[in-house]
Subunit: 409 residues, 2 copies
Amino acid sequence: MDIPYLPGLPFMGKTGCGPVGVESKRFTKQCHRFGRPTAATSAPAARPVNRSYCPSPDRTRRDGMEDSMVTLAEVARQAGVSPSTVSYVLSRKRSISDDTRRKVEAAIESLGYHPHAGARALASNRSNILALMVPLRSDMYVPVIMEIAMAVTTEAREYGQDVLLLTKDEGTRGVRRIAGSGLADAMILMDIELDDDRIPVLRETDTPAVLIGLPADSAGLACVDLDFEATGAACADHLADLGHRDVALIGEGEGVYQRHTGFAARTLTGFQRRAAERGLRAMHRACEGTYESTAGILARILEERPSTTGFVVQNESAIPPLLSLLRLSGRAVPEETSVVAICPDQVALQSSPRLTSVSIPAQEMGRRAVRLAMAQLEGDRAESINLIPPTLTVRDSTAALAAAGFAAS
Amino acid sequence: MDIPYLPGLPFMGKTGCGPVGVESKRFTKQCHRFGRPTAATSAPAARPVNRSYCPSPDRTRRDGMEDSMVTLAEVARQAGVSPSTVSYVLSRKRSISDDTRRKVEAAIESLGYHPHAGARALASNRSNILALMVPLRSDMYVPVIMEIAMAVTTEAREYGQDVLLLTKDEGTRGVRRIAGSGLADAMILMDIELDDDRIPVLRETDTPAVLIGLPADSAGLACVDLDFEATGAACADHLADLGHRDVALIGEGEGVYQRHTGFAARTLTGFQRRAAERGLRAMHRACEGTYESTAGILARILEERPSTTGFVVQNESAIPPLLSLLRLSGRAVPEETSVVAICPDQVALQSSPRLTSVSIPAQEMGRRAVRLAMAQLEGDRAESINLIPPTLTVRDSTAALAAAGFAAS
DNA sequence: CAGGATTATCGAAGCGCTTCGACGATCCCC
DNA sequence: GGGGATCGTCGAAGCGCTTCGATAATCCTG
């Protein structure tokens, strides 16, 4: 605003800026950019601001209010080097003398420069953004989703990436949009269904991607997940080790087993197989997680097999009701009945008694997903199924079964 | 890869493309762009691909594997119009004949065109991205945060915006980075502290922003929040209406009252004031939410004032323990004791009995935040404190107190 | 100490889009 | 039916960055 020359009138800058040879070209460029729309509402076309490469020297730090964007060119000027040099300082793609580097860094610091994300994306074909597609509503336990999302975001920042949040209900259209617009460099998908329709699109558009979850056909894809089969097995093992002979898995809701992610099915498989190997009698019931549902299931289990002393719970919301119901029915945990949960540590810790559990390594999943994505961006196209081995932590809800009538044979 | 001419050798394209007058200019432009870095790892500088404006006609849909980007220029060519026309079809900023529009839309469809986000951001000074800063860990109940985030994301899409996920622990640096890089058009901040250090930065950088939560000094800012004072009052009113005389508020953890958001304090204020107005005796205890903490607090409340029959719970995690403890202590809910919760509907519904509650309107908050942000981008700089009035839904955990000894005077 | 290799820097082109001004072609009103 | 307004389209510039090739300056190495 401090150089109020009229548009159209050629501005014959004599203020000594830059090589003379290019001046004419520069100043014949008409200026039709008036700062941010927000600020442009008053006096729409009245007072254009010269934003060419060669402003008068006294203009330093002035138009900040209108358009706070500091450009690389300004940094270059302030540091007394060319724009490309500044770029190389930033990208470290060519060697720069310590002296120059320091000058440039000082200029960056003093001007508070941040590279324009769009410009960078356009020129470099890299947006430094990872798209994360999370379920809007799913069978997954919300805090776990959140924890993964946060871990992804935090880890992404370690790689200088930001995270774009997409909802799963954008579906294949969302994937296409991101792949097509170059908005993100890679995608991380959560809540993967066995036969997820986003996967073909990923393949077709050849988008770098990481799945959190395991689809039926994972050929050529990078996947991260907890090893749920081993998880089920670990639970069975633990109960077997403690001397339990009759065990039950209280699982996810009905729908989960058919429709979805397969993690529930994998847990069940692992549990049943290991139970068989260890000579346990295993039951399984799907559970919606409400108090009523849990009560009904527990009643049926105990009716059908009153000798059941070991429980594995996979549905987080079934945990409080289950504990409450066991208490009410007079079955002491862990003295008479043992409970193993598959849940985040936090849930296990704030239950009473604190639960022996296999934790859902949300943090780890998020972190690994980002690393796999970054590896792909580095050129590692290798497919990889990244199954995290389960960790069972013994707390206060499981104990060795007192040698009662039905001891191990 | 299918046009393997050597770099440096001028490529005298005779394949008839575009007006002759510009050809020379176009082909003297050197090509130094080799598709995506991913693909460039093999044969680094050996086989550049011609990506100028004027590919040979038979090239249609060829280099898709290497660089699936369809450009506006290609759409224009296919539709037989100029690039600017395509742009205007997309932006609707100038009128376009139906005929032309149809041709362009057909071309867009058939090529699967998506505008390059970076290019668009660079040229238009608008990224179509909203940055959402969420707490990494906070006193807020995680599912509520998640619900807000999802609502923001969904609503943002209605406005053609995407959402960038930031964590609060990036703090002021994060705000500066976003404001400086033009990565987002506006910011939405959650978990606002009374004296939030991000606020000065927001003011200083003049970034369009919406706060979800209410800081101490909200001058010139757009804020959305549940009206917690009215919430506290509504709870007091409801219990008073039912004939309760001695009531207690089981609140958030100690820390929340000092350090943070003030929503807890505002609830308390509203509760106490209204209780006084209605002639109730009101107590208040901070509660960490664990079983032990809840048990201790409940015991002390009942010891100090055994006639307490009305409870308000603000800490979601205290709800299951509280209900469990009341049951154990033989106080029937709602027959003898009433419980009002301040929590998401989902929590209220899956408790047993279903809880009378003031819901946390997470969806609504998210939605409003986006609308306020968009309004700012439209030029509405008006500050606004957007307090959502509470809704108390009566369910099965509150009932009129049977006219006992201590009836209303 | 000549000449090739290396280092540090610069200039310029171009990424794909938006937007301005220009300019025919229509339209309408007196 | 002539002249101004409107409509629909085009060409070109420029957004701020990256990166190529070029070019001095410096560094060996024999």
